[in-house]
Symmetry: C2
Subunit: 414 residues, 2 copies
């Protein structure tokens, strides 16, 4: 079953804003066996909207229109669908009452143009929107001899997503032929994409009924396996079988068999070993701590750390002797190791991490290029460091260094 998602709004045709709802909707649609074959972004011009809806009717069975349901003159989705499908709009009395009640409860006056949000397409079912004023609409109709499902959902993510889950997915499940989708996500760290593909392609190309997607970002590889079958158990078995073979091929590059993030895995291992972690960051400037503390409950294993951007703070917080910095430079394995050991002793953590490097674009010297990073890990038994040179701009170097540091912790704890 093929669908098209149409995002309506001129702001999404600027250089600064992107539709993100469609990613959420795609995941939910895939989960019930509906493929997204096209995504279209169109501005708030009625003529353009009508053209886009007509093109979509010619190529898919399920059309989802997001946005353009508000009260302003620019909100034209209802009108455009009516024109494209030759339907009339009627003002729904229950919706008018709901709009008045909403305005009253907010003690706000009710401008008359607000009422256009109560306009409902002939034969459409109204989909309640508890998080906003404009309801969604569901049309199940014949067009050009084919059955078409046309869904109108509000644009703001806080309205669109709950309404889609509560009102659209169950209706689509009932309206469409049953397919079951099985899905697994594997993740691996610090393996180059080309190498991962070389390792895995011989396996996944065998499984023509499982769709494998590889995404790579700054030292992180995410493999998603998707299989759609009439029988849920068969779909799951195919996905699990391929996942098992991929896990074997990826060896210890693999860190997650079910989509968890690297920081989640690090915290999981820390909890398992009843260990605690503290970090001393220079070039990553807080990014490692920030990633770890994204996880709720991180405080159980993560004590905190120091962002030791200046040499003086490397000494004050991570107990790095200033003579060591003078002798080897702030970007050196010696200083990284002293940072890791210093922050561990200073905080009483089981594990101390130290990261120092040159994120760029400035700061390179004759024998220390931009991208050079030293990462050290210290526990009671030993302190060791690795040296890497990452390529790319400041952000990319920091992201790679952060990923490499988290992976180093994971490997120590494994």
């Amino acid at each position: 079953m093929k669908s098209e998602i149409i995002a309506v709004g001129s702001e999404m045709l600027t250089p600064w804003r992107q539709d993100t709802n469609s990613l959420y909707l795609t995941e939910k649609l895939n989960g019930i066996g509906v493929t997204v074959a096209f995504k279209t972004i169109v501005g708030d011009r009625r003529k353009d909207l009508v053209a886009v809806i007509r093109a979509a009717l010619g190529r898919v069975d399920v059309l989802i229109l997001m946005g353009g349901l508000g009260p302003t003159e620019d909100d034209l989705t209802r009108e455009a669908v009516a024109e494209a499908l030759s339907l009339t709009l009627r003002r729904d009395a229950a919706q008018v009452a709901a709009l008045h009640a909403r305005a009253a409860s907010w003690r706000m006056p009710m401008p008359s143009n607000n009422l256009k949000q109560a306009d409902v397409l002939e034969s459409a079912i109204v989909l309640p929107n508890p998080n906003g004023s404009a309801p969604g609409q569901w049309l199940d109709m014949q067009f050009g001899g084919y059955r078409k499902l046309v869904l109108l959902v509000p644009g703001p993510p806080s309205e669109c997503r709950p309404l889609f889950d509560a009102e659209c997915i169950p209706r689509l499940r009932t309206a469409l032929p049953t397919r079951s989708i099985a899905r697994r996500t594997l993740r691996a760290a610090m393996i180059p994409e080309s190498q991962a593909d070389k390792l895995l392609a011989p396996t996944y190309t065998e499984y023509t009924d499982v769709e494998t997607t590889i995404l790579a970002h700054a030292g992180d590889i995410q493999l998603t396996l998707l299989c759609s079958k009439a029988d849920a158990a068969v779909a799951q078995q195919r996905v699990d079988e391929l996942a098992g073979r991929m896990e074997e091929a990826l060896e210890d590059w693999l860190y997650s068999s079910d989509g968890e993030s690297l920081e989640q895995i690090v915290l999981y291992y820390l909890g398992l070993r009843q260990a605690t972690l503290a970090v001393a960051e220079s070039c990553t400037g807080g990014m490692i701590a920030e990633r770890i503390t994204q996880v709720p409950g991180a405080s159980r294993s993560f004590l905190g750390g120091a962002v030791v951007y200046s040499d003086a703070l490397k000494t004050a917080f991570a107990q790095v002797p200033s003579s060591l910095i003078l002798q080897h430079g702030a970007v050196s394995s010696e200083v990284a190791e002293a940072m890791a050991e210093g922050i561990r002793l200073r905080t009483g953590a089981t594990l101390g991490l130290g990261v120092t490097g040159i994120a760029g674009p400035n700061g390179a010297t004759a024998n220390k290029p931009v991208g050079l990073v030293h990462i050290a890990l210290s526990d009671a038994a030993r302190t060791e460091s690795i040296e890497k040179t990452f390529h790319g701009d400041r952000e990319r170097v920091r992201e790679f260094a952060t990923q490499q540091a988290l992976d180093l912790i994971r490997r120590r704890l494994m």
Copy 2:
């Protein structure tokens, strides 16, 4: 002049990957007076691609196809354009030679399917791609009685963007009627979007020839003004005039008159005052330090700081007396102020910042809800704190707290 950007690739129809090139291209197109009226994302199916190209030919003058130019069977953009426009493809001898030379220089064998990258549309100009193997193509042709410009550019950002800048923009400038675009970006912090719109709408609606876009994210408002005229000076004057009136209306919420980020502005003021900053972060977990250190050269004014997630580290690194934490709780104005003063004294910075709060989803108590954050700032003269309750999930609370903290520093330095 209206354009459509068509991004080709099945991976962009998954829940995990989005086209981002189009934002870059949109900015460049707007800069020469070309509007993006539609964006379409389509998978690697020839039939779908042809349908999308035909629809675009019916509604815009400039079509930009990104991706699908590689050597694999899934790369079908050239073939689909040929079919949609009834053109033939010819294998270009110079491109074949270039592909052989490239393979030889990499000491790689040359698989025969690589040669399809040398296929050029009848009457197209080949656009050199120094960063990849597939060149771009430029078609200036008549279709259905109208002039159409059809551009084929490679998909990978590292190839697409330089090629677009070097080969497409200059050609478009020559091919299209000259328009000059003036642009300004104003930014404001911690003013609610609805309040900003209420303040500004009476002004910007007067300027019907200037397009104003308001984007809001976690306490940051970005206003972009765009004006397209035949005469560059007139366009600039209109934008500057409206910008001036908006700056006045926004009073001290405005922090940037030309698009700089809040962290850039904070570092600018620190430099101006020859002041230094250190931070002690609890609930933001490194996010403030991370944002500041995104700016190259941050080390001139930013000494670093401490991520004091545990109570023990609040004492060890920010000199917060443990009795104070016992008495008032870790999330309190007293502890925030002690953190700010402690980190300032500990590091010798001119300014010390302390942030403590409950990011959620857990950790709330009867009188301390999720989202409660205390932010304190300390200099030699005084230590003061503010209390805020932010709404939303963990990430949003942390983002708002970070933005509020940076804004507090800005206001102290102003």
